[in-house]
């Protein structure tokens, strides 16, 4: 069974452990209904495509608990070079690529990579060793615990259903409040 974006995130929530979760774009509108702790960081306002790089810096600063960045396919396409940086800079970082083939928050226009870009292949070719691909809810449920266990870097490519008629998401709270909550939560961690 194909999975919805929300179903993909629900599985993530069950297996994320204590890791920081950085959400981007459409995930920002869904994630607070699933999890809204100080370790959930909605990267908005953002510079589109820079979520994984932000997560890398944070993961380097805090190898424990580590960081999961929930990125879109459009965001990933904006900064593909990051996969190479990620491979070259070992960190406890997990990048989820939520691939719906659309720029969902701008009205559902197809991306340049829709339907033909192999994100797992790109990640492997960049030098990332832990790469996973799940294109059904059942497979993601079965594989999530393993994919999210251990130490990054890892890339997890999830194929989800596109959804039209979406509005631009809003973060659950202002940026400065988010930063304060996150930093307090991480105080004392390595």
């Amino acid at each position: 069974m194909a999975m919805t974006h929300e179903q993909a995130l629900e599985v993530l929530a069950a297996d994320r452990g204590q890791r920081v979760v950085v959400t981007t774009m459409a995930s920002i509108g869904l994630w607070p209904r699933i999890s809204d702790t100080p370790r959930d960081f909605a990267y908005m306002p953002s510079s589109m495509g820079q979520g994984p790089a932000l997560g890398l810096g944070l993961a380097l600063a805090h190898p424990e608990p580590g960081v999961i960045v929930v990125n879109g396919d459009g965001c990933t396409l904006m900064n593909l070079g990051f996969l190479v940086t990620m491979a070259n800079t070992p960190a406890n970082l997990f990048v989820l690529i939520i691939d719906n083939g659309l720029y969902e928050v701008t009205g559902g226009q197809v991306t340049a990579g829709a339907g033909h870009t192999d994100f797992a292949g790109l990640a492997r070719s960049a030098g990332i060793r832990r790469v996973y691909h799940f294109d059904s809810l059942e497979a993601w449920k079965q594989g999530a615990a393993e994919a999210l266990a251990g130490t990054g870097p890892a890339v997890i490519w999830l194929k989800v259903e596109g959804k039209l008629g979406q509005q631009t998401p809003k973060p659950p709270r202002g940026m400065q409040e988010q930063i304060g909550r996150l930093q307090t939560s991480l105080a004392g961690s390595s």
Binding site: S47, Q50, L60, A61, N79, M175
Partner: protein, 160 residues
């Protein structure tokens, strides 16, 4: 004169933990010194906006990075700079190689980098100073310390 060993030593004294960079031909000569500087980790990024984002994450996590790039990369990195300095209000510090500045002072270059670098910094509202060959690493360190003390972003443009 600013060179790799003196800059690396100055950054160490400032407590800088990471240098996130994409070198140009001038900064590239500092590679060995930065790579071997105790207490400093050199991170090699693929694009300048990405370098700024990595530094932002490090700052968010309590570390003290600087970003080293060429002005051409600064031009590319505008949205990243806007977001992390102005939306997130992070005290980012950049060391930017200003390509062809010295030749432009003598009227000997067609390169347009000197024409745009300072206006770009002013447009993005990042306080900066221009360091020329007569300056030393202590001048760079002073700018870094001042920006950190004021909890704001800052930059030095290195005349090349």
């Amino acid at each position: 004169m600013l060179d790799g060993p003196s800059v690396a030593a100055a950054l160490q004294e400032c407590g800088v933990t990471h240098v996130v960079w994409i070198p140009d031909s001038h900064l590239g000569a500092w590679d060995a010194a930065l790579s071997h500087a105790p207490g400093i980790t050199l991170i090699r990024a693929c694009r300048e906006g990405e370098a700024i984002a990595i530094a932002a994450g490090l700052i968010l996590g309590g570390r003290k990075p600087v970003v080293m790039i060429q002005c051409t990369g600064l031009f590319e990195a505008g949205d990243s700079l806007r977001n992390f300095v102005h939306d997130m209000k992070l005290p980012l510090f950049l060391i930017v190689g200003l390509r062809s500045h010295m030749a432009a002072q003598k009227g000997k270059v067609a390169d347009t980098c000197p024409q745009f670098s300072e206006p770009i910094m002013q447009t993005w509202k990042v306080p900066y100073v221009l360091l020329e060959p007569r300056h030393v690493a202590a001048d760079l360190a002073a700018e870094y310390r001042e920006a950190q003390a004021e909890k704001r972003a800052g930059a030095v443009l290195l005349a090349e």
